[in-house]
Amino acid sequence: MTSSSSSERRSFERAQRRRSTLIAAASTTAVLAAVIFLVPRMPRWDRVKKSFFDIDQASDSFPRLVDAFWLDVKIFVWTVPAIFIVGLLIAIARNTRTPALFPLRALAATYTDIMRGIPVILWIYLVGFGVPGLGLERPYNSPLLWGSVALAMTYSGYVAEVFRAGIDSVHEGQRAAARSLGLSSTQTMRFVVLPQAIRRVVPPLLNDLVSLQKDVALVSLIGPIEILRQAGIDKAKFANFTPYVVAALIFLSVTIPLTRLTDYLLSRERRRTSGTRVA
């Protein structure tokens, strides 16, 4: 057999690529066409259209919903640092090796077990109503505050596990090398293990941020008027579900870019750490 020339190979690969693009485009078009063609033919489409996709209702609710969404953004922004700091501390506590620190390890393990074992909504109810119920003074009795705290606690449990996986993924030889040079275990963690661990877990951490961004809406269940609750108010007032659809679109406008960024970082990390891709 003679080997095919490189130009022949290139044109073959081009044809292959063109073919897969065509297949993808055709199948997408077919699905879209089916939806556009079939859904309006459903018996109650007219009513659904009016109560979920009412343009006038949407433009009326939109400014109120965007306003309310700011509260979601704020809750998100102040819980994220708390989640990362607590999560990292818990992960480090679980990674201590001194026998004397066993109680600390046990405490950290219990914390992650409990936080990951209770549904977020339940925990928000318990902390958000329970703690203010102790009779704290304003402003420390706000359900908004304690709801955010509950959310941060739950997520720090998940984030702690992500950090722990990152720490465990750093090869034992790295610690051995650092310790053999005389670095203390704290210095080894800080200068050698954590920088490598954190770099590796950035993509899964962003994944958790995407889901946090959505779960912020759960805080509304104990009172604060954020976007989900505002949409509920509008729905009740106008007897129309369109505000919910608008709220969903507002969420998507934030979560989709965040998800794409996560995917991009994930694939970059994969490219960096593994060899060539198999087609």
């Binding site: 090869h171 790295q174 053999s180 005389g182 670095l183």
Partner: protein, 254 residues
């Protein structure tokens, strides 16, 4: 301790390994092993995989706690329970088979990290020391490069430099050429050749018999966690006394 009465300051070994035992779970890796190494001496440890070479070196650097016996540095028992290992590790360096360079740091930062964090040197002082050693071993132009851009041989040379930068009195070399492509072995061994005679005490675990023969003052054959034979290279390699040494050498030389 047993040694202090008999040994005077002048003839005291740099490193004394006295009746050391070490087990990992059910498998005993070191069995009542004893070995003295004088200051400035080069001693090679040879023996089959699993004979305890690596574990012995890791014990001397206190990376593994020993179960029984004692390890002394200049007559000072460093292996006692509860003793802070960090001051000892400043004096006893180790280089690993798998290099273990820090991948997130440049070559130069790999070398200066411990200088600044452990020895408390200023950034400038540490960088100067790194530059001087990199130049001496022909790696000056690699100072700002990251480890994954280096060949295995270059990485191992940087790992040796990283250990040397601390000015250790004893350097432990743990099969430092075993993970290298054959054509890269020479450049790493050249570094070790240059160290001999510089006053540093070298304890080398190796599979390179030719190299062990050439560089060592004494060669020590380990078998199932104990010293089966020890002597000058020509004695051990040319006329081994122990039948197990003969068998081992026959296997590895062919």
């Amino acid at each position: 301790m047993t040694q202090s009465s008999a040994v005077s300051q002048g003839t005291q070994p740099k490193v004394r390994i006295a009746n050391v035992s070490k087990s990992f779970g059910a498998s005993q890796v070191l069995r009542d092993i004893s070995l003295d190494v004088s200051a400035g001496e080069v001693v090679s440890l040879i023996g089959a995989s699993g004979s305890g070479k690596t574990t012995l070196l890791r014990c001397v650097n206190l990376l593994e706690p020993i179960d029984d016996g004692a390890i002394l540095l200049d007559g000072d028992e460093i292996s006692s329970v509860g003793r802070d290992p960090n001051p000892v590790r400043r004096r006893v360096g180790i280089v690993f088979q798998s290099f273990n360079l820090f991948p997130h740091m440049s070559v130069s930062r790999n070398i200066t990290l411990a200088l600044s964090k452990v020895l408390g040197q200023s950034g400038e002082e540490a960088l100067e020391r790194a530059a001087e050693l990199l130049k001496r071993f022909g790696l000056a132009e690699k100072a700002d490069v990251y480890p994954d851009q280096l060949s295995g041989g270059q990485q191992q040379r940087v790992a040796i430099i990283r250990a040397l930068a601390m000015r250790p009195e004893v350097l432990l070399l743990d099969e430092i050429t075993s993970a290298l492509d054959p054509e890269l072995v020479g450049e790493v061994l050249d570094v070790v050749r240059e160290l001999k005679g510089s006053g540093i005490t070298l304890l080398i675990a190796t599979h390179e018999m030719g190299f062990a023969r050439e560089i060592s003052d004494r060669v020590c054959f380990l078998h199932t966690g104990t010293v089966a034979e020890i002597g000058t290279p020509s004695q051990v390699f040319s006329s081994p006394n122990d039948e197990r040494t003969r068998q081992f050498l026959r296997r590895v030389m062919n």
